[in-house]
Symmetry: C2
Subunit: 156 residues, 2 copies
């Protein structure tokens, strides 16, 4: 699980962007400049960024500074699995396992706002059983866990 360890960001970013690039080419999607830049921005942080944070950075990069510019790019990235939206934070984060079909789960540090993405099996556990019994058909299940990350635990 990516998230709380230190690692080489520059590599991490360029590799991921390149992967997205290839995927889009294959799938007939357009990774336009704004979309690519937003993906780079998200990859540059292992924490969630609000749409307006991103918008601000885009503006400094010569893009238009209207909210739809950021929201459209984010919608694209989320729709195609390059990023996830974190409901609890009204914010967005780059996907840690792009290309793999998955329901994301997040570990959110309430102290430093770091975000780690993990896999969970919520839909197949107890919740899945309840849903099955009731006749509810689960299409997506996201888990957002709030707590304290290893770095912040050490520092208290």
């Amino acid at each position: 699980m990516i998230g709380f360890e230190h690692h080489n960001h520059a590599d991490c970013i360029s590799t991921s962007v390149e992967a997205a690039d290839n995927y889009c080419r294959t799938a007939g999607l357009q990774l336009t400049p704004a979309r690519r830049r937003v993906l780079e921005i998200l990859l540059g942080e292992h924490r969630a960024l609000g749409a307006y944070d991103i918008l601000e950075i885009l503006a400094k990069n010569g893009f238009a500074a209207q909210p739809p510019v950021a929201y459209r790019a984010l919608d694209f990235l989320v729709k195609h699995g390059f990023a996830h939206r974190i409901e609890r934070l009204n914010a967005f984060v780059a996907c840690a396992h792009p290309g793999i079909e998955h329901d994301p789960s997040f570990l959110l540090c309430r102290i430093c706002d770091a975000v780690a993405e993990a896999q969970s099996d919520a839909a197949s556990g107890r919740l899945g059983k309840v849903a099955e019994t009731t006749g509810f058909k689960i299409e997506r299940a996201v888990v957002e866990a709030v707590g304290v990350c290893p770095n912040c635990r050490g520092e208290t």
Copy 2:
């Protein structure tokens, strides 16, 4: 699990409000008129209501129509476990198991907006293991599953 079945609302509401009333008296909390009315409103629907939906109803009931009136009551209800906030919908729902300490899980119908609350074991399953390995301490874990409820499945 309460949620998708038909049942007697009037009983359901008065019983729950009474329970909240008793709990508050015991715990030294004030279930003031606005708080009580908001709880009743939430119990009257088995779906999530936005703060401004509630505010509108409060206004018709003679309460002040400023946002803080609704938010304060909702904060109180959520804090003490009488209601939950559903992040995905920016909305609130009455708790289906008040008095019991629990991390709520929700089944959200994307067609009719019905909400059912269930128990899950997200924090003790795969996600819990990952967290443990990493050193992340989970304090709360909420699951929000989107899908189609039994009633809407029948009607397609």
